[in-house]
């Protein structure tokens, strides 16, 4: 068994309702081995709820989800198959990191030396016997990751693993996640930051208001959404646009009347203008950000809109 083809997470019509609110709305998805699958969505989209249902912690209101072909509660040795770092800091502050990992290891018959091993792996040797209540956010996160790796599982879930970490911590986790997938494991990582996902994930699952709104290859998503264009301002923009269009490039207009040229390099545009003696006042490359693409994608499904467009009533 182990990291075979079966090491997957599969959700079918997975649903979670809280009262009359549907947090997760009949979603279908598959998370495959050997890749990092990013689970991207704005706040309140249903990422954590979905992950808790994968782990058998929350009961679905409908549909279901399996890990390696079984419901979580039916796994014969859960820690050997699934490791998770969930959002909440799930550690008793009065217990040392070592003892936390020790009781956890005992549940699944994991030997003591593996506890020492994972402590070394996340670099907590020096504080392993101190109360975990005094740990910094980054140290707590490392302890959570040590716990997730304890049973050397083929499937790993990380819920917003880089939240609140400093750049070094972020880089460390990013590398770790990538290396886990490179070893053939199934890695499922949630985030609400597109930029983070672009650096970590191979596959992208976008969720908004409890529904899957994109299930795509990361490379595809980038190719489709990060198309750059060249911004051109010219006093003779009408003539220039005509000339550029003749070359087969797509021409659009920015809000201020500047031309947006797709498919051409600044050099090519400059040459066209020069050959016709047209003046240029601006010639610049503009990269559409992935973050914007993500925001466009989820614009209709954002849970809590900041109401910046509302006029402030006078006299308040």
């Amino acid at each position: 068994m182990g990291r075979s083809v079966a090491a997957m997470i599969t959700a079918e019509r997975l649903t979670k309702r809280y009262g009359d609110k549907t947090a997760v709305d009949a979603i279908d998805f598959t998370v495959r081995p050997g890749a990092v699958t990013g689970f991207l969505g704005p706040n309140g989209a249903g990422k954590s709820t979905t992950m808790r249902m994968v782990m058998g912690l929350d009961h679905p209101s409908g549909g279901g989800v399996t890990v390696n072909g079984r419901a979580y509660r039916d796994l014969p040795a859960p820690l050997h198959e699934v490791g998770a770092l969930l959002e909440a800091k799930a550690i008793h502050g009065g217990r040392s990191a070592y003892n936390h990992l020790l009781w956890l290891a005992k549940t699944n018959g994991i030997p003591r030396r593996r506890v020492d091993e994972v402590i070394g792996l996340v670099g907590l040797e020096a504080v392993a016997h101190k109360r975990s209540g005094g740990f910094s956010l980054g140290m707590g996160q490392r302890l959570g990751i040590a716990a997730a790796l304890l049973g050397d599982p083929g499937v790993l879930l990380f819920d917003e693993p880089v939240n609140g970490l400093d750049p070094e911590g972020i880089r460390w986790i990013r590398n770790l996640i990538r290396s886990l997938a490179a070893e053939g494991r199934t890695v499922f990582v949630s985030s609400h930051l597109m930029s983070e996902m672009a650096l970590t994930a191979d596959h992208l699952l976008v969720i908004g208001r409890g529904q899957i709104i994109a299930d795509t290859d990361m490379a595809d998503f980038i190719a489709r959404n990060s198309a750059a264009y060249v911004r051109v301002r010219s006093p003779q923009s009408g003539v220039l646009a005509e000339a550029l269009r003749d070359r087969g490039w797509r021409i659009g207009r920015d809000d201020d009347g500047a031309l947006k040229v797709e498919g051409a390099t600044p050099e090519q545009i400059g040459d066209v203008a020069g050959s016709r003696n047209l003046y240029l006042h601006e010639l610049s490359v503009v990269n559409a950000s992935l973050e914007e693409a993500f925001m466009r994608l989820t614009a209709d499904s954002v849970e809590y809109h900041a109401r910046t467009d509302q006029p402030v009533p006078a006299g308040v």
């Binding site: 808790r52 058998g56 009961h59 796994l75 040795a77 799930a90 005992k106 091993e117 140290m139 050397d152």
Partner: protein, 280 residues
């Protein structure tokens, strides 16, 4: 910790030698029990609650016996002497209740319950393991506490010539009864904590139920009030831990204990049912 070890990403994740043979590493009740035992012995609150149980029970017993021995020894005294030798347990028992509650609620306060249930998704087994650990620990400590209370209190009674003998059937029954009572009380707390998932709330309800309501129902008139008093968990259960009782209307020790154990089992069953039904 050293900076370099923090910043260096692991090149690869070393696998334990026996990876793959899932046969040797299954989830079993014995393992969950071992894990729960490890949990309870690795937090300070366990030491504090057990120490309070012992010190409060033994200390208060010694004090009351020291203070009352003279009067008890006088001719014409009609107070039940046997009720004094384990008197402190009346207060020490709160620690047993709190210990049981904490075993459940501390996991909710920290969110650790999710780690527990990810490692051991068989929820009935988790609750049963917690109940076993609480029972075992309190059975031993409760019995030791009862013996120590007796020895301390009886020392002062002996000086007045009214001491009891350990060989006395009721005395011996109360010694082991002390262990039984606090063990079941601890499980009662565990069930309450598991139901309420909140330390302060569960402690308040538990203490109110055992102490306040247990005494207030005395005021309910008639046979109904009498039975209510007899059946309240603390009243029914504690008789087994006392050589004699101040209150002659309580159930017989073993009958009372059976009632208390039954009530606790019912509460634990409800807690377990909700535990397996609710989101963690």
């Amino acid at each position: 910790m050293t900076t370099s070890s923090i910043l260096t990403p692991p090149a690869s994740i070393p696998a334990p030698a026996r990876r793959g043979d899932a046969g040797g590493a299954r989830l079993t009740f014995g393992r969950i029990l071992d894990a729960e035992w490890t949990k309870i012995r690795t937090v300070r609150s366990t030491v504090w609650t057990l120490a309070s149980l012992f010190v409060v029970s033994v200390g208060l017993t010694a004090l009351i016996c020291l203070a009352a021995a003279g009067d008890l020894g006088e001719a014409g005294n009609d107070e039940p002497v046997g009720a004094f030798v384990t008197w402190g347990l009346m207060f020490g028992q709160i620690a047993a209740l709190v210990l049981g509650i904490l075993v459940a609620t501390s996991e909710y306060a920290s969110g650790m319950i999710r780690t527990t249930l990810a490692a051991a998704p068989r929820r009935w087994s988790v609750l049963a393991a917690k109940a076993t650990v609480v029972t075992g620990l309190l059975l031993v400590l409760g019995t030791l506490t009862a013996f120590a209370s007796f020895l301390a209190g009886n020392y002062f009674l002996d000086r007045e010539g009214i001491g009891l003998s350990l060989g006395d059937g009721d005395v011996l029954r109360a010694m082991f009864g002390g262990g039984l009572y606090v063990a079941v009380l601890g499980v009662f707390g565990l069930a309450l904590g598991s139901l309420m998932r909140h330390t302060a709330g569960a402690v308040t309800v538990g203490i109110t139920l055992i102490f306040v309501v247990g005494n207030l129902v005395n005021l309910v008139p008639g046979a109904f009030g009498e039975w209510l008093t007899k059946l309240m968990p603390g009243n029914a259960g504690s008789a087994i831990a006392n050589v004699e009782s101040f209150n002659p209307d309580l159930l017989e020790p073993w009958t009372g204990f059976a009632v208390f154990a039954g009530e606790t089992a019912l509460l634990l069953a409800i807690a377990g049912w909700l535990f397996s039904k609710r989101d963690a």
